[in-house]
Subunit: 414 residues, 2 copies
């Protein structure tokens, strides 16, 4: 089965917006064995949209459309689709009820423009949008499928994840796809590739591997395409397990788990309470750890001592430590752990202090010098990072690497 | 003059690579008054490339191609172009000299595959690639221009900046483009649209507006296309100013400024020190505020009191307040401000406490109930939010809305 993407929006053509939707869609389609043959971006204009639909339709079985839905775009995409498939627009009571409920719940008024969102091609079936007002619309024309979604990435992803992918998957026959996802943190793609090279050379033709690098982390995805489910599953397990075993504690989890989730699981399993003391990350580690539902069971809070005054007042760092070693030093992060454990009574504390840049660097401590400490009254592990990126990335890398050190500390000591 | 982009590469269709080239090209073309009418991505396959060229050629005056050049791609794009324009391939001595010099300088051997890079359509003129081996190729066919470049972003940008844009600019006559960007926060797209509807109805044909929504924020972009620079600038200023004035304090800045930056500017101008006390945002407000270089000049830190114990210990919230009103209440966020100001001696504090979900909601305080307080010893402003999204978005909206309340508090009181 061949798919195409047609995105609608002037903002994609004048440089205002980088199209990240298409790469996400390409990856998700790939995972269920659907090949994306082309993607096309057109401007907010009915003739161009119809023209693009016709081009894509001749070259694919299913067209995924994003953008051009919503009150300020005059919902141009759905009007163009209706014209293209020769349909009329009709008012969807179901959508009206949903949108009205949405506004009632948030105690905001529903405007005339929102009512316009309830009109759609009469033959469209709805795919639920869990995160916004404009629904996904699933239509067919000349044996081709059109699925139209809003362009806001989280809404598009919500629609695909809630129902879109399942509906597309139901159209694919015969071939069976299986995946094995390995989540690693703290090491680069090249290191991982070198470590598992011989296993990859053993791969039978049904199996392939993708390295999907993130911030201080790499996701490995094994994909097996086979005609039988049993064969696919056996190959996935055999090679997935071999790689997982080889990578050892570089791996923090399998499947779609995220690092803060893996930490949460460890804390719950081992009945640990954690806390953070942050300087250069400004609260970012706490923000990540609390992105997980239920994190209040094991995370007690953070002392973000951005200024030296707060480091002294809230964490008890002595002015001697600060003047002799500086705020960015092993001594300071060690003392941050002591102060944090005393104040919060946590079982394990995480402390970071560093120079994110662009200013503040010295010859001895250049921008990107970061100290991390993990520990408690019994034991503290410290690590110095020397990062070389811009402010935002230096902070983002520190957040992930500090969380990863926390994970390794728990795995090794509890 | 109308342009199109055709990108070549399987990696753009299977989710491996996000296409950032197109947004960059779109912006650069826009700046010189060239309208990008469509962009198309096709896979590494000659038939698909020719098909795409033909589609783009019917709809534009100039086609910018990226990707599919280079030894590992078998230089598929230039072969497809030669076939499409009915040209033969010939060996370019100039390119050979340049590539040989490149390898000599870097003391690496020149391989057979690099010699293949010297073959190109015989009618192509070269556009220098300052950062790589594959040159830009400029060709014309049926009065349409084709400019083919490698897909590596820095090489493509090098070719465009060194010569490509100048050559394209030379084809454009007499059109001038100007922009006016208005950044708003705290209100939705529809509310803004209704508020400025009459101004938009006054727009002369040269001017257009785009709404670019983000989390609890909307960016408005006015675009003016005119034949004279003076006229364009006058229209932009007149209508940009009218809209900015109408939107009043919904606007936090003009141009590419971000909300935490606007807050930083206000703090520096008015010599204010700020601090945060966060519960459900887990440190996210501090993380955003400290994303700005130099934020240590006005941001002192955050007390992330995720547990009630820390709310009591670090912010002095009484157990009476917590038991009578709950952690998510106006009383608690007020007291968080008192404790925060006492501890940090900040001029203005920000406090948030809420139920991000999915658990923890009650009939009286459903998931999405958030209390925000902004203030100091003299004055505290509180606001209750009732959000209705998932955990991640409830947190993200709270972060932006709390920062926006902080901005409004400073603007109104200092």
């Amino acid at each position: 089965m061949i798919a195409s993407i047609v995105t609608v929006g002037d903002e994609l053509l004048n440089g205002q917006t980088v199209d990240t939707n298409s790469a996400w869609l390409g990856e998700k389609l790939n995972e269920i064995g659907v090949t994306l043959s082309l993607k096309l971006s057109v401007s907010d204009n009915i003739k161009g949209i119809i023209d693009g639909l016709s081009y894509a339709s001749e070259r694919s079985d299913i067209i995924l459309m994003t953008g051009g839905l919503g009150p300020t775009k005059d919902d141009i995409t759905k009007v163009a689709i209706a014209e293209y498939i020769g349909d009329t627009m009709s008012f969807s009571d179901v959508t009206y009820e949903r949108i009205a409920g949405f506004f009632k719940a948030s105690k905001r008024p529903m405007l005339e423009a929102h009512k316009q969102q309830c009109y759609m091609p009469s033959t469209a079936s709805l795919v639920n949008n869990p995160l916004g007002t404009a629904p996904g619309m699933w239509m067919s024309h000349n044996d081709k499928i059109i699925l139209s979604m809003p362009g806001v990435p989280r809404e598009m992803k919500g629609i695909m994840s809630e129902g879109g992918l399942k509906k597309i998957n139901a159209l694919v026959e015969g071939s069976y796809i299986d995946h094995y996802i390995i989540q690693t943190a703290g090491v680069g793609e090249t290191t991982i590739a070198e470590k598992i090279n011989d296993i990859i050379e053993d791969f039978p033709p049904e199996i392939s591997i993708a390295y999907l690098p993130g911030v201080a982390s790499v996701k490995l995805r094994l994909t097996v395409k086979a005609t039988q489910q049993e064969l696919a599953e056996k190959l996935t397990q055999t090679f997935g397990n071999r790689i997982t075993e080889r990578l050892g504690n570089m791996v923090y989890g399998l499947g779609s788990i995220k690092l803060p989730q893996a930490i949460g699981k460890l804390c719950i399993d081992k009945k640990l309470i954690i806390a953070t003391a942050e300087s250069c990350t400004g609260g970012g580690i706490g923000h990540e750890l609390t992105s997980i539902a239920g994190s209040s069971a094991y995370y007690t809070g953070s002392i973000v001592s951005y200024s030296n005054e707060l480091k002294q007042k809230l964490l008890g760092i002595s002015s001697e430590t600060l003047s002799n070693h500086g705020a960015v030093s092993e001594e300071t992060v060690r003392d941050m752990i002591h102060g944090l454990v005393d104040t919060t009574q946590c079982d394990i504390g995480v402390a970071v202090s560093g120079i994110a840049g662009p200013g503040g660097g010295t010859l001895e401590k250049p921008v990107g010098t970061i100290w991390i400490a993990i520990g408690n009254r019994e034991k503290i592990k410290t690590r110095k990072l020397q990062l070389i990126r811009n402010r935002r990335l230096n902070i983002d890398y520190t957040i992930v690497l500090a969380m990863n050190e926390l994970r390794l500390f728990i795995e090794c000591n509890f």
